[in-house]
Symmetry: C2
Subunit: 142 residues, 2 copies
Amino acid sequence: MEKLNNIIFYNIDHSIRLYRMYAQKKLREHGFKITIDQWLVIKCILENPTITQHELSELVFKDNASVTRIIDLLIKANYLEKEINPDDRRKFILQVTKSGEEIIKNVQEIILQNRNKALKGIDAKELEIADAVLRKIITNCK
Amino acid sequence: MEKLNNIIFYNIDHSIRLYRMYAQKKLREHGFKITIDQWLVIKCILENPTITQHELSELVFKDNASVTRIIDLLIKANYLEKEINPDDRRKFILQVTKSGEEIIKNVQEIILQNRNKALKGIDAKELEIADAVLRKIITNCK
DNA sequence: TTAAAATAATTGATATATCAATTAAGTTTT
DNA sequence: AAAACTTAATTGATATATCAATTATTTTAA
């Protein structure tokens, strides 16, 4: 047990790093000019149209500063627009552009392929257990 | 199954992020001026005294550029020294200083506490399964 | 209802991640 | 031995992570 204790975080780190690199490489190979993090942010806005940047940061496990900068880049890339929320002028309304919607739609198939590739040969029950372990770690670290 | 597929990477990402934040916070609270990544690099050099930067980068899943910069900071912090390897002048010999050895020794107890806290209440068999799943993902993404 | 507290977002500073290009030193080929 | 190739490390550019400090706005409390 002691040895595995030492190594589980190492493997968590390694697996997510490799998956992200793999996913990013596939996006690049298909000519998509977007990062995994940017993709995730647009995806969350599409699914939660009234979300604030602060709520967004909690949803994607990034801090406010990171979200601000990712959004800046998304606006520069013309995937996103923002305007002050008249109901609370501290907040912004985030609006995915046509171009933003399009790239998400086009990228979707590759994302699914990436997941299938990464999870190939893994038993559903084992995956469920792994997920439960991860959720437990999340709870413990909060 | 499909839904879990969608969420497992989300939880992998979330768990390692929270664990790193927790671990970093604990180090800071105890007054240690070192990052988790820097700690890992020193640890690897101590355990592999003849390791090159390139080998190091493979061991800690970082690329050469990141390792170069982490080593620069470790040298600045006086935890590490490096000198050209006379047998192959492209390489460096990495030497942990007394101060570097000391901080690793002093930090050890906190690292163990962090791991115990993060893994509390997780069954050994389930942990083993989770680890196997992660290793499988690693293999699949290579 | 004004002062204090809380919230949302930004900015600055520093660390790390990633890719591409470059430099320097070794190795292989012809 | 010189040219071509390979390897090790660095550097530059850009993206993200994290903390602390700041600004603007809203809410709460005195």
